[in-house]
Structures are given as C-alpha cells and as structure tokens.
C-alpha cells in the first residue's frame, strides 16, 4: 500500500525513536492531541510523555530546550506547529544552534521540523516558505523533501546528523503525494540533489512542492517535443552545486523554480552558481519562476496568482526554447 508524505515522516520519526532511546520529540500539541497535522498521532501512547513532550506555546523555549538537551547527548526533534512561527525561535536557531560548533566545538544535533508552504488557504501566517532565512546561516543544514521516499529518508538522516537540521515539510504534500516505500532501515543523504526526470533541452531546478509542478510542466513540454530535465535539490544547505551544474552543462538552459518569494530566494544563489561555474555552457539567459515579493495572500484568486504553477513554468520554458 502506498505511503503518504505525512505517513513517511511519521514512520521515519517512529523508527528512529524505536532505534535510539535518546531521540525524543517536543512541541505544541504533539502529545495527547497528536500534532496539528497528526504527524505524531499515536506517539504519546507508544513512547509516553517523557519522550513526547508537550510544551507551552513557546517556540524559543522549544528550540532552546532542544539545544540544551542535545548538549547532554539527547537527539531532540522539535516541532514548529507551522513554519511561519519559526521566526519566534530565530535567535535560538541562527545565533545559538548554528554557531556552537564553530565557536567552541559543541555539536548541536537537533532537528527542527517546520510545516511550510502555501496552496492551503492558510493566509499570511500559515503559508510561508521561510527557508532562505536559514540557508544563509552557516552551521545549519536545511532540507526540503518533495517525495514520500525523501521525506522518510531525510528525517531519519536529519535525526542521525550531528549538526542542527531545519526540516521543511510541505503541508500541501502531506496527503497529496504517496508512493510505495521499500522496507528496512534506509536514509537519504543530506546534501545530495536528485535528477527527478532526465532531459536534454533545458534544466528545471526546484525543490519542495514545486517538484510536482516542474514534473507536470515537463510532461506537457514533452508532448511539444521539448525534453526538460528536472533537478530536485532536496537539501538547500549544503547545496549540491555539482548536480545543478552538471545538468545545465548537459542542457545549456536553466529555469529556476521555487514557491518562495523572488528577492533573495534560492534561485538567485543558483543563478550566481551557474554563471560562475558553467557560464560558457549557457545558450540563453537564466530564467526564474517564483512567487512575487508579497506576503502570501488568503483569498483563492490571490493565492493562485501568487503561487507558481505548471502554466507559468511552461510559458517560460517555451520562451527559453525559442531563444
């Protein structure tokens, strides 16, 4: 039976808690209630309140406590109820967790789970994609899986990692994507992108929920005789620049796609990387498809206009191919 993206995260957490008694969860409403999205439903019954810690509404305390517990050898997984609230814990993440190893050699093996993304009519405070606040913070690792396979493999890898990992799980994917997962204990390496669809005419580089938009666009483009390669970054920090550049070397055209807003988004860093490393392979300008620089609006026509979609990608891809 196929496993949903949400179920994959849940399985990953469950297996790691069964494997390692030092792994524990903390967050708001994650225990008896099972979490706002039910990712941790049933954990309280199985692991008890010692390992499934319900907290006050207190993101700085949640992440701070995770950091302090990690100093004593525990492996905390902190849940932000929505990624939008992670800003309440900003100082703990970017000034405390991220800098300990470099400053005084102290490992901070924590995971901060952050349900992110739009398309769910969540409005300005339940829809954001705040990944770039953290991608520009050395010392953190930032992952953003798009598939159930990667969600399970990356949550397990994040828990085993000895550096702080921010785990962006896209809310719109929770129950919408599913696949058959292999049995056994496996992980997905942090820091490795994946070619999700091979192609030869242009490269669409993306991550998170936009992978599915890219694949939908690539399918339509194939019907028009355009072969699009789709690269799923999976990890945003450290960034797998090699896989991105290898793809662009092959196709000579780059379309960079993300749901995050435009200015300071990942596409800018990717464009700079491509220009610096494989400029002579380019046959056309680098193209970005992103959300505009606005807050995430609530009303459906506005949110639809805000979010990138396959039609917007196809339009830019056609332009690139004509160039």
């Amino acid at each position: 039976m196929p496993t949903t993206y949400l179920e994959a995260i849940r399985e990953g957490l469950w297996e790691e808690m069964e494997r390692d008694p030092d792994v524990f969860l903390l967050g708001e409403d994650i225990g008896v209630y099972g979490g706002a999205f039910k990712v941790t439903a049933g954990f309280h019954e199985r692991f008890g309140e010692r390992r499934v810690v319900d907290t006050p509404i207190s993101e700085a305390a949640i992440v701070g406590a995770a950091i302090g517990a990690s100093f004593l050898g525990l492996r905390p997984v902190a849940e932000m109820q929505f990624a939008d609230f992670i800003s309440c814990a900003f100082d703990q993440i970017v000034n405390f967790a991220a800098k300990c190893r470099y400053r005084w050699g102290a490992a901070v093996p924590i995971v901060v789970r952050a349900p992110s993304g739009g398309g769910v009519h969540g409005g300005p405070f339940h829809s954001q994609n705040p990944e770039m606040w953290f991608v520009r913070t050395p010392g953190l690792k930032v992952v953003a899986p798009a598939t159930a396979y990667d969600a399970k493999g990356l949550i397990k890898a994040a828990i085993r990692d000895n550096d702080p990992v921010i785990f962006f799980e896209h809310k719109a994917l929770y129950r919408r994507v599913k696949e058959d997962l292999p049995p056994g204990d496996w992980t997905v390496p942090i820091g490795k992108a994946r070619v999700a669809r091979a192609g030869s005419d242009l490269s669409i580089v993306t991550y998170g929920a936009m992978l599915w938009t890219a694949l939908e666009a690539a399918e339509t483009l194939a019907g028009e005789g355009v072969s699009a390669e789709v690269v799923d970054l999976r990890t945003l920090l450290p960034l797998d620049r090699e896989t991105v550049c290898d793809s662009v070397k092959k196709t000579s055209k780059a379309l960079l796609l993300h749901e995050d807003t435009r200015t300071g988004g990942m596409a800018g860093e990717l464009a700079a990387t491509i220009s610096e490393s494989v400029f002579e392979h380019l046959d056309a300008p680098i193209v970005r498809v992103t959300a505009p620089d606005t807050p995430v609006p609530y009303s459906p026509p506005l949110e639809e206009a805000f979010l990138p979609n396959a039609a917007k990608v196809i339009e830019k891809a056609r332009w690139l191919c004509r160039y």
Binding site: F24, A61, G64, G68, A69, N95, F96, W104
Partner: protein, 328 residues
C-alpha cells in the same frame, strides 16, 4: 558538628572563596587595566569587578556533572571548574590557546567536557537552553542540575520568560542565579523593569525566589545551598537574586559617567573581596601574612598565565573554514 570544627569548615570555605575571588579580580584587572590598554586584547572586555562573590559562592557548590551556564561576569565558574587562567587570557587575546581558539572573544566560551556551556551575546537566550539541559538531566534520571547565571537586564527579554515558564511547568532541575548589578549597560534597573526585584518575577512562574546580598560570598554560598537543595529534590527551579553592583563600566571602553558618584562610593565600601578579607582576619580564620601570601601566589600565577597566553600563537588564516560542520 562541634563549634570548633564548624568554624574550621567555615575558615576552609572562606580561604577557597578568597582565593577564587582574588584570582578572578587579578585576571580581570590584568585584562582590563593592562593588556587592554596595551592593545593586546583584540576586542571587548566585560568584567565582573565587584560581582566575584556570586560566581564563586554559587559555583563552589556545583557537582562535577552539574551543567554550568555562566554569564560574562562569572569568570570564577570557569576557574573553579579547572579552566587554567592562561587559556582565559588567550581567549581574550584571540589566540589558539583560548577555549574557542580565536573563534570568539572574552567570556564567550565553554567546554562540554567540563559541562560548561558558552552563552551567546543575547544573554537571555541561554535561559531556555539551560532549561533544556535540565530537561535532559531529568530525562536521564540523573541527580544533577543546571546552574544558570544572568543579569537583571536579561529578564526584560522574552526568551528569559519562556525559559522560566518552561522550566517551571516541567519542574526542571535548574537553579537560576541573577547578578543584579543595577545597570544593563547604561540603563538603571528602575528603567529596566517596573517591579522592585527580579525575585518578584518568580511568583508569576510559581518559582520560589529569594534575595541575597551578592557581595557577601558566604551568604551567596548559603543561599545557593538552599536553592540547590530544592532543585536537587525534584521540586523544580529556584530563583536566587544576588544584589550587587557593577564597579566598572559595561565594558572597558565605557567610563560609566551615568552612574552617580555616591552610588559608586557606597558600593566601593562593599567590595566583596575586602569584606571577606576583613571578616577572615576578624574571625581568626586567617592571619595577615597568610592573606598576603595568597595574593603573592596569585600574582605569580597570573604572571605565568599572561606569559603562556602571549606565547600562544594566533590561529592560522587557513583554519578559517574549519569546523562549521562536523564533516568540515
């Protein structure tokens, strides 16, 4: 215990306290009044002059596995845990021999092998982290506790309140120790908070709190003993407010003209080291020549430590990128 042996115990404790307070004072004097002016301290200097009784009186009660979270004015916590003065001086000078090997300066340092956590500049952020360490101690069923120091200025920040609340709700084994030195940089306590005492804040978290004379090291020691008894019993956190005074500016570049002279004079007379010395002589716990001998020994120790630190190389620029992550 008989009166005589109790007095001997007090005398022994007083000697220990005197040594660590005087050592901290001498290291900080050397840093602030000599090395800084010679340009050998490459960054800021934040000392605990006048506040030595707090880190000494409290940290002497820490068990080796208790986790310490000292602030920048609590150098003695490091000394008591066995960090050599030379390494602290090297830290100030940005040398390889410092605890952070030149990655950070002044008292921004820690060593997990010694169970000391390095604070970050926004000091209140340490409070939830200390609560987390206490959570881990509780999780592991350890009898150990966390001890966390901060100033009264920290109590204005949200992280402080979140950490207090979390620790109390979860009944975590952590002792909160406030150095209320009456000024947060240039802001007096009356402009920092509308309640009279930091201890008053304890009530809103149902945390027992007490106020102690922070310039009386034996009183701080006794109060810490009460705090730790409560914390080790599993009853939850305890808040100790040590009333003291910052006898310097916020940092070496701050002449603190905003502090009234009468206040300085008043607290000058309450210098915790002089007070202890006077008491030791009066109680017959030490003779004048013993005190002089300790001071002379400290001078030699710090001379050697300065020489050691100055001999420690600066880090090579080639190491710039190392250690951001475990794998490089």
């Amino acid at each position: 215990m008989g009166t005589q042996s109790m007095s001997a115990t007090q005398a022994g404790l007083a000697h220990k306290c005197f040594y660590y307070m005087a050592l901290m004072r001498e290291i900080e004097d050397r840093v602030e009044r000599k090395l800084y002016r010679q340009g050998k301290i490459v960054g800021g200097v934040y000392v605990g002059r006048g506040q030595e009784a707090i880190s000494v009186g409290a940290a002497l009660l820490a068990e080796p596995e208790d986790v310490l979270f000292p602030s920048h004015r609590d150098m003695a916590a490091f000394l008591i845990r066995g960090v050599p003065p030379g390494r602290i001086l090297a830290q100030y000078m940005g040398r390889e021999g410092g605890l952070t090997r030149g990655r950070d300066g002044n008292m921004h340092m820690g060593d997990l092998k010694l169970h000391i956590v390095a604070f970050i500049s926004a000091l209140a952020a340490t409070v939830p982290v200390a609560a987390g360490a206490a959570l881990a101690l509780q999780y592991k069923g350890s009898g150990n506790v966390a001890m966390c120091w901060f100033g009264e200025g920290s109590t204005s920040l949200g992280h402080w309140h979140e950490g207090m609340n979390f620790a109390s709700v979860k009944k975590l084994p952590v002792a909160w120790i406030c150095n209320n030195n009456q000024y947060a940089y240039s802001t007096p306590v009356s402009a920092q908070m509308a309640c009279a005492n930091v201890a008053d804040r304890g009530a809103s978290y149902n945390i027992p709190a007490e106020i102690v004379d922070g310039n009386d090291v034996l009183a701080v020691h006794e109060a810490t003993r009460r705090a730790l008894a409560q914390v080790r019993s599993g009853a939850g956190p305890y808040l100790l407010e040590c009333k003291t005074f910052r006898m310097t500016g916020h940092s070496a570049h701050d002449a603190a003209h905003y502090v009234p002279q009468e206040l300085r004079d008043e607290w000058e007379r309450l210098d915790p080291i002089e007070r202890l010395e006077t008491r030791m002589l009066a109680e017959g716990w030490a003779a004048r020549d013993e005190i002089d001998a300790v001071r002379a020994q400290i001078q030699r120790e710090v001379d050697e430590a300065v020489a050691w630190a100055e001999a420690s190389p600066f880090p090579g620029a080639a190491s710039l990128l190392d250690g951001v992550y475990e794998d490089g």
